[in-house]
């Protein structure tokens, strides 16, 4: 088991109801972590209902859903970015 800081932004944050949480997990990759997070609350379930609408960053670098979590300390979930 490792402990991750999980961060949420924009409407993902609003649905989850918190900007961040500490999560103890044995998930091997992002997809497995999502499966665990969804079960936490109705808000989490709503946030992760459509993963095609989500982006993920591991330790502040954009990543794919099958990216391994080995060594990760911070995982962030958010919608497609709208900067500029």
């Amino acid at each position: 088991m490792t402990v991750l800081d999980v961060l949420y932004f924009a409407w993902v944050r609003e649905r989850v109801g918190a900007p961040r949480e500490r999560v103890e997990t044995a998930a091997k990759d992002v997809a497995a972590l999502i499966a665990e997070l969804r079960a936490r609350s109705d808000g989490h379930e709503a946030a992760f209902a459509d993963t095609a609408a989500l982006r993920v960053a591991i330790d502040q670098e954009l990543a794919e859903f099958d990216a391994p979590l080995a060594g990760a300390r911070e995982v962030a979930f958010f919608p497609p970015m709208t900067g500029g």
């Binding site: 932004f9 502040q60 958010f78 709208t82 900067g83």
Partner: protein, 147 residues
């Protein structure tokens, strides 16, 4: 190369003047882009911009380094605000300095295309009727493919 992510307002003219003056006679071309809170119909109360502190600065610095190398930039500047912004307010600006115009233009467009879709900012529009997150555009994703 200078990257600033800030809540405070900035003045694009003052920044453009300082950036241009700093180039001396090495640069032949300076391009600036300024993005403002648009509200053509006058229905917007404000734009709220959220970002991911830490990742934002890293992502922008990486994009700027890539542009600087590819187009031999003499200098580059990116300023991006977060927080609540009024209609008409400058959201962000990019400036590029190069020997010739083609490089300065290409680098500025590249930086804009990447900032739109690869820098962790999220915009929310607040009107009298409520608040809504701005959806990413397929066009913006397509724009990245040309580079």
């Amino acid at each position: 190369m200078d990257v600033r992510v800030q809540a405070e307002p900035f003045d694009p003219g003052t920044e453009a003047a300082a950036f241009t003056a700093a180039q001396g006679a090495r640069a032949g071309a300076v391009v600036t882009f300024t993005g403002m809170v648009r509200d053509a119909e006058g229905r917007l109360d404000r734009m709220e911009i959220e970002h991911y502190p830490g990742m934002t600065e890293r992502a922008i610095a990486a994009i700027v380094a890539q542009a600087a190398e590819r187009w031999h930039l003499l200098d580059a500047l990116v300023i991006h605000r977060h927080g609540a912004l009024r209609p008409g307010a400058p959201i962000m600006m990019v400036a590029t300095a190069a020997a010739h115009r083609a490089e300065a233009f290409a680098a500025a467009e590249f930086l804009m295309d990447y900032l739109k879709s690869r820098a962790p900012f999220w915009k929310k529009e607040v009107t009298a009727a409520g608040a809504a997150w701005v959806a990413a555009k397929a066009d913006d994703e397509d724009a990245l493919r040309r580079w």
